[in-house]
Amino acid sequence: MTDEPDAILRMENITKIYPNGIMANKGVNFSIAAGEIHGLVGENGAGKTTLMQILFGLNHPEEGKILLEGKEITIANPNAAIAHGIGMVHQHFMLVPSLSVAENLVLGVEPRKGVSLDLPEAIRTTEALSKKFNLKVDPRSAIRDLPVGTKQKVEILKALHRGARILILDEPTAVLTPQETDELFDELKLLKDQGNTIIFISHKLNEIKALCDRVTVMRAGKSQGVFAVADVTEQDISRLMVGRDVILRVEKSVAKPKKPVLKVQDLMVVNRFRKKAVDDISFTVRQGEILGIAGVEGNGQRELVEALTGLGLYASGDISIGGKDIKKLSIRGIRDLGTSHIPEDRMTYGCAADLSIEMNLLSYTHDHPEYNKNYFLMDINAINEVSNKLVEEYRILCSSPQQEVRRLSGGNIQKVVVAREFSSNPKLIISDQPTRGIDVGATEFIRKRLVTLRDEGCAVLLVSADLNEVMELSDSLIVMYGGKITAYIEDASSISEEALGLYMLGLESQGPEEIRRVCHD
């Protein structure tokens, strides 16, 4: 632990208890020095987001105080935080898609000419800021047309425009490619050189090592201490985070692929902006293998998954599951072929949040005869029995299977989804961002299950924006860029992150012959 002589900002003894009784922060001390990049790490639910929300005025602590340059301040709302020079770049961008970069930048502090908005002035301001901080953006483009990396730059500029000297970045790299991440790091270092202070929240320990001067580690609502990054290893930090050594590697044997289950031929999907979201792609997933799809989000993965699961239409091409064409099948029909789907957005597609765990577990099999008496009434005993069994088997932490899903933590909600999807004897599992935003324990559990199912002969298609996950868990990989497959890597462990990044950004592409190998015909 290091001592703090010249703290610009100090949070002392912060305690936050939510109305539902969860103690998110317990006597946390947190301090940052002027002009440093300070890492804040911890598992989901460790309390880092709550702590930063308190700092930004989105949450209010039960106890504790905040000192800015030695003076105690109260931060009632984000406006107060901004007035004190504290800015936040949220994980979900706070941008209005149909408005231009300049309009988003000045929103709330609009320059005026008479009664009207002075748009030319807004554009000039944007250009000047963009130049000053070396964050390249086009003031006139609409936000919805911009790639994620650029949106993030707009967010950073927005905070700086409002006079932020302390910037909080909430998991900024979660949505970026390795190259975009490097770019962001260079920009952040420049901001630091210009005298700004940055709080960098992340899960990724290598990023903390690469970027930060010091790091605060949180676990279960408590600070585990502050460390100079140079003095600690990634293993040290991870031990402090979870209180044990996480096996970051996924233990699995070599895959033994058998017959093809999912065959996709010349598939094309057009999105509502008339763009080809999935552009003429073919691939096959076989029994006993995990085929990963790597790629920056928004390169056709979502549309592909929607076409495969029946949630969306596709323009042309063939999709067959277990030899059966799915073009005319309903979502239910596709599921009845033995398809399981872990959707990307678990709250919208994965569960009915207001219903109980057992109702969610039964939402696919509710009309099966074993849960119904006389084809009419639900058989409560049978339902209780199976849901108790699944809750136990999948280690879902809850007061009872009758608890509302909404009240569970993210990881446990995902376990409910996974329990339902994995327990229906699937032949094909379409797994879309299966561990996004959930804690390490649940992540490990779900990954292990996927490997077990693979070993039992399931075909698994894994879509993940988490590069680590897709590289560790997959047997083979395809990379999607601009709706096309840019590479097929037969042995996922043989490729480096950097090489994959080049395919993900479309800077390199394999030849059609090489890519064709993923069809295994």
Binding site: N104, S116, K158, M268
Partner: protein, 315 residues
Amino acid sequence: MSAFFDIIFSSHFGYSVLRVSTPILFAALGALISDKAGVINIALEGIMLISALTGVIFSAITGSAFFGLFMAVLFGGLVGLSLGYFSLNLKTNVILAAVAINLIAIGGTVFILYLVAGDKGISSSLASKVLPKINIPLLQNIPGIGPIFSGHNVLTYLAFLSVLFIWFFLYKTPLGLRIRAVGENEHAADSVGISVVKTRYIALTISGILAGFGGAYMSMGYVSWFSRDMVAGRGFIALAAEAMGGATPIGCMLTSLLFGFFDALANSLQLLKIPYEFVSMLPYVATVVGLVIYTIRKTEKIRRIQEKAAEGGNA
């Protein structure tokens, strides 16, 4: 059949399209403002009814049509504001609160009318005033066109000017920018210190004011009295017009004119020997058909894009 076309192609018919489009256009612009702020205001119907009665009563008391208009618009704004209070402060479902306002308006206007005029159906015993008509110099002398565009009620001109005002307000002023931001991503607006609640209050109040103009026009321009249920679904037709107009001011104007056309047609066809009940159904049938066509076209468009892509043509 020729009688039918004689009706449609007369200047008189053109004039009456503009005349009957006016209240729909006011309300459609009201629907637009609140929609842009992310609140659906289905209380437009009730607000129009309340404002129509308010205008009649106050113009009869003071003998001033413009004071009546002022009070009608004020009441419109206040009812819009109260809808904001119910939904934004007290957290009622905005649809249910608006339904309540509409129901209160139906019964309440008749009740007040009875107290004031001693009649449960019509305000003919009140000496209410009518807003003036304006003849436009030069234009009124042009044959064919003059009789269509000149000599309308002052509110008709205001309605079409409002299209311009609202466009300017939404797209060129800071408050318009904030309203659009709040409607599209309230969290984004919130995060930069824009009060979502305050912005929605403003939008609902303006929405109410516009509906107030529409209501005042009904009883102080379209006709010169108040009668029970006189708004007759125009507030709801306006919601359809706003949706079909693609939530833009110009779109609202075009669809309001379309509904106005059917409304005028219904009025004119009463001259031919077509049953009144059938004819008065037309504007509503047009609404339903309009919405169905709008939806079909939207889905067709998506399907065509898919098919076009399938043929290999670059979409």
